[in-house]
Amino acid sequence: MLIACAMIGAVGLTVVTAAIGQPLDWAMRGVTPAGVLLIAVVLMDLGAAHRDRLLLPLSGLLCVLSIVFLTRIDPSLAAHQLIVTVIGVFLMVALYFLMEDIRSLARFKYLAGLSAIALLAATMLWGKEINGARLWLSIPPLVTLQSMEVAKILMAIFLAGYVADYRHILRRNSRGRGSIQAPSLRALAPLLLIVIFCLAIFVGQRDLGTAILFFGLFVIMFYLATGQPAYAIEAVVLFAVGLALVYQLFPIASVRVSSWLNPWADPTGIGYQPLQALFCLSEGGIFGVGLGYLSVAKLPAAATDLILAVIGQDLGLIGSLGVVIIYALISVRGYSLAWQATDRFASLLAVALATVFALQTLIIMGGLLRLIPLTSLATPFLSYGGTSIIINFLAIGLLLMVSRDCVPQPEKAR
């Protein structure tokens, strides 16, 4: 399967290089991430333990697509992306070998939770603002990192560990009541805490996407802890009301919201980005215009926020649906590992990671497709970026470890 990825990459890049008139040796780049992953697979197999066989090829496919499309948008970005991908794969393999048992990660849950909050808080205080959203933490002279990417994985570890330990406490007070629940104070308190925390992220980072991502993660984990869907619905309602209130009080992210509500009011100003993204998609139609056929120089953030629009333009609806399917498969694979896992912490960790992955993708797609306002979140494995690629590989690595350590090998040979 990885070899197929490599071939797709090579063919794709050949087309792109032909289209933009670059020398053909660029085509080698498409093969590189697949090749690196192939080496990783072989390395991991040296350990000889059984593990998941689906996640790596799928994320490899996304990486290859990313390199192809970044080359098509701006070749210099692709070169950088390539290096980051190699680093990401290396770190993933290192993590895979260094941590003998995924269950030992549960020990670090408080450390992870505190560092996640610290990271988010630091970003709110000293973050760098790009396009009105404060998602970046700059640590000169070291790096500029998208802190929420790091925080999301730390938070997933914390929540998995916390819920695994304290599930019974939260459950006790919700047992034996009627179907319409009046949440007791003990259930209400964490619920309110979640809502307030996420609203704080929204205000502090000025980004709705990050707030929704963390909120979604919290609510899912809260639901698994209590087993009460009613609580989750209450939390969603509270959060929606809270968002509306906060928006009324401080018109933060107002540009993004008004450009979402009515982009046609100012099609060359605030409505420009969402509309041009839609125009790109419409150009693609069903079969796409072909790789690199139309310039995307007029599309803002083509390599980051709107890479899906470029894919939709070049590969059409077929390409878009292909990408949707890949993301859905990765997410479902994450959840299926979760329900197969024999250990509670590992299971919850897999749920949290799969949720973060699925939700982040859905938020970006929803923004592009005008379901919610556009956000600055990175499209996993596709967007040009450093932190995001590395973190996503680490998340895949954690899922692989869950499958290695906690999922019993099926009786039948594969």
Binding site: L278, S282, G288, V296, K298, L317, V324, A328, S336, W339
Partner: protein
């Protein structure tokens, strides 16, 4: 653990539903909404593609090229071979005139493109054929040179616009020559960009008496033979009405009153009709309608004929003064309605849209809007208007060898300068053309519009 497993499965299901929704939304934007989005003028992506499409041309029905295209250094350039003759139709760039409203047709995109097409790269736009008669249009442009006003001619059988000239016009090529000439154009005191034929709001003055007479006959408030007494000046409904003839016309019938544009008789006729029927018929005639055309147009105005001084307002309206304002195309439509025996026509200007190979893509279909007045009333009014030409004050409209029905008049303009109006159609027995002319004039009473209407009719009915 079992319950946890079940809940995780539920979450996975929700996630899959979310991805399914995204798939549907991709389909919605990439297929269902794609044609409209691709044709959107703000679409920067499509601009790369539409720029290479050979745009369609605009022709008149008799084959004159109105708007062409030529491949230049910066892609396709528009050509205006007839200069200012069709300026208000062509506009001067892609954001004005028919170039703006017919953009999708001229580029063959949007509604003219196949939604399910495989990467439909349109190479050629579509041609548009207008109902305009090029000879009459040129003649009208010549006659209106140096004047301000408008000429509109319709085919009374189906509402096809044969002539549409607003004066002053402009030369589209000159306008786009430089920023300076564009600024001169937009700041010109006579506003040449304004298409007076559709956007000009004028007091109709005495030509509205044809409408008043038609309502009076149709509601049987009066007959052709009803006699009125005109003493030259009279107090009617609280206002002093002066007749055009000093000393008055004496006793005269309704037919004579129309032929002589007798204000006093018509003020009295208006009182016989009453405000309710007046308003009722103004909508039956579609007198104030904004025509359904691919160019900007204005809507006529009639005062609310209610309240304390409803009678005063009614008399003012019947004399075409006060707050009553109409567009030249509405007056041409009034003439066409009388000419067609009372059937209201819907004016149109796009005859058909064809491929550059000539194959028709869409064609105009005549729209029936019902009847404003009975055929009998229409015939009586036509007879009176014919009398105006033969014995009354519309003699200037006459065309040799053809029976013409006409009404001329003047009105006080909003800005204070009097207007000269003419309303005519011919031949009376089977009308081929109905025309309305208005000239913004500075010499009181000079019948400038009448001869212009006559000249246009002469060009339009030489077919016999």
């Amino acid at each position: 653990m079992n319950e946890l497993t079940q809940n995780i499965r539920r979450i996975a299901l929700v996630a899959v539903a979310g991805f399914l929704l995204m798939a549907l939304l991709f389909g919605y934007w990439q297929v269902l909404r794609a044609p409209a989005l691709r044709a959107n003028p703000y679409n920067q992506q499509a601009r790369q593609r539409t720029g290479s499409i050979k745009p369609g041309s605009i022709y008149t029905r008799d084959g004159e090229l109105v708007l062409g295209a030529e491949k230049g250094n910066e892609g396709w350039q528009r050509l205006y071979p007839a200069g200012s003759v069709y300026c208000h139709l062509t506009g001067y760039n892609e954001n004005s005139g028919l170039q703006k409203s017919l953009r999708e047709a001229l580029l063959g995109i949007g509604a003219y493109q196949n939604r399910w097409g495989v990467i439909s790269h349109t190479e050629q736009g579509l041609d548009v054929v207008l109902t305009i008669n090029s000879k009459a249009q040129r003649r009208a442009t010549e006659l209106m040179a140096g004047k301000r006003g408008a000429v509109v001619a319709l085919d009374p059988t189906d509402g096809a616009i044969l002539v549409m000239v607003g004066a002053p016009g402009y030369d589209p090529v000159q306008v786009m020559e430089s920023q300076m000439s564009y600024e001169l154009f937009t700041n010109h005191p006579a506003s040449p960009e304004l298409n007076r034929a559709l956007q000009g709001l004028y007091a109709p003055g005495t030509i509205l008496e044809t409408f008043v007479a038609a309502v009076a006959l149709d509601t049987q408030a009066a007959t052709e033979q009803t006699v009125f007494n005109c003493r030259g000046t009279e107090q009617i409904a609280g206002i002093t009405v002066n007749c055009s003839k000093p000393g008055g016309h004496g006793r005269l019938t309704l037919s004579r009153a129309l032929a002589n544009s007798c204000n006093i008789a018509f003020a009295k006729i208006a009182q016989l009709i009453g405000p309710e029927q007046f308003r009722n018929y103004s909508s039956k005639f579609h007198l104030l309608d904004k025509p359904d055309l691919p160019l900007p147009a204005a809507q006529g105005k009639l005062p609310d004929l209610v309240g304390n001084n409803a009678e005063t307002k009614l008399v003012e309206a019947a004399l075409g003064q006060g707050a009553t304002l109409v567009t030249p195309i509405a007056m041409a439509r009034l003439a066409a309605t009388i000419a067609s025996g009372g059937q209201v026509v819907q004016p149109y200007m796009v005859d058909r849209i064809t491929r550059q190979s000539g194959e028709t893509v869409t064609e105009h279909h005549k729209r029936q809007l019902g009847r404003a007045i009975s055929a009998e009333t229409a015939q009586q009014i036509a007879g009176m208007m014919q009398l105006s030409v033969e014995e009354g004050n519309a003699s200037s409209v006459g065309v040799a060898g053809c029976r013409v029905a006409a009404e001329t008049g003047w009105a006080q303009n909003v800005q204070g300068k009097p207007l000269s109006w003419a309303l005519a159609f011919a031949p009376v027995e089977s009308p081929q053309a109905a025309v309305a002319v208005v000239v913004e004039n500075d010499i009181l009473g000079r019948p400038v519009a009448g001869p212009i209407a006559g000249q246009i009719l002469k060009v339009l009915i030489t077919r016999q």
